[in-house]
């Protein structure tokens, strides 16, 4: 294939959906939702699958709360004074501390993939929201070049799969989590699906 669109591979329907789910998780974990975003979450409809039911619980939770209340909940869970209830960074889950080897490895891989941290972001790149955003971009081909499954899987296997499930489980069980409890469920279930689907390509 050559020509203007040659960097773009046709995004299969299931991959477009995966990118959207990663985008949803990234949006939910990067910052508390705006009133507008909360409304959109409240309109999500899931089916009878486990993931569908989890997203229904999330939508119901969204309809039952406000952006203001979620600012507080987000603060308690992730920021806090001297640290939130949870520390959603790969380095923390894998080594016990932030700014550790997992972050260094991630930065090297990001360099290879042609991805940098945005100028107005000050958290280290191994934040769960950032990783979800990167995966979404790898799927859609946002970072130029091939966004093939092998590349996605390599990234997932090294930087996400070892700890994301644990984090989402922690989020489901975290004291102070209310709206973010079903966020944890959605994240845990989606990560399980991703892991299973990647092994199908072996």
């Amino acid at each position: 294939m050559s020509g203007v669109g040659s960097e773009y591979h046709n995004i299969a329907e299931e991959d477009a959906l995966r990118a959207q789910w990663y985008g949803l998780l990234a949006g939910l974990l990067a910052a508390p939702p705006t009133p507008e975003m909360l409304k959109k979450i409240g309109a999500i409809e899931g089916d009878e699958t486990a993931l569908g039911q989890a997203v229904n619980r999330l939508a119901a939770a969204a309809r039952g709360t406000t952006a203001d209340a979620l600012e507080d909940e987000f603060q308690i869970l992730f920021i806090g004074v001297g640290g939130g209830v949870l520390t959603p960074y790969g380095s923390y889950y894998l080594s016990g501390f932030t700014y550790e080897k997992p972050l260094a490895k991630l930065r090297i891989d990001m360099l290879r993939l042609g991805i940098t941290r945005a100028d107005d972001v000050y958290e280290p790149e191994d934040h769960i929201a950032s990783l979800c955003e990167i995966l979404s971009g790898l799927i859609t081909g946002k970072y130029g070049g091939s966004a093939d499954l092998a590349k996605q899987r390599a990234f997932f296997d090294v930087h996400v799969s070892p700890w994301a499930g644990l984090f989402f489980k922690d989020l489901e069980a975290a004291s102070g989590a209310d709206f973010y409890r079903p966020v944890g469920s959605v994240g845990r279930l989606f990560m399980e699906l991703e892991g299973q689907a990647f092994t199908m390509a072996a």
């Binding site: 203007v4 669109g5 960097e7 773009y8 046709n10 995004i11 299969a12 329907e13 299931e14 477009a16 959906l17 995966r18 990118a19 959207q20 789910w21 985008g23 949803l24 949006g27 939910l28 990067a30 910052a31 705006t34 507008e36 975003m37 959109k40 979450i41 309109a43 999500i44 409809e45 899931g46 089916d47 699958t49 993931l51 569908g52 997203v55 990001m110 042609g114 991805i115 940098t116 941290r117 945005a118 107005d120 972001v121 958290e123 790149e125 934040h127 929201a129 950032s130 955003e133 990167i134 971009g137 946002k142 970072y143 130029g144 070049g145 499954l149 699906l193 689907a197 199908m200 390509a201």
Partner: protein, 68 residues
């Protein structure tokens, strides 16, 4: 696409369909949230072939489809 790749693609499509990925109106919420302030990752300038991110007709269609 090789036969093996085709098999994998079909397998994944069926898997995700059964898992409920498509049944939710995720698009609107996701597209909205992705555009928000916290863009943690951006394409490095000059790191790729320079094509970066462009809205080809094909990408536009993806976003249109995502808008339920």
């Amino acid at each position: 696409m090789s036969e093996k790749k085709k098999e994998t693609a079909v397998g994944r499509r069926v898997f995700f369909k059964k898992a409920g990925l498509g049944a939710s109106v995720i698009g609107a919420a996701a597209v909205g949230s992705a555009a928000k302030k916290s863009t943690a990752a951006e394409p490095s300038k000059g790191a790729s072939s320079g094509a970066g991110y462009r809205e080809t007709a094909h990408v536009r269609k993806y976003y249109d489809l995502a808008r339920f």
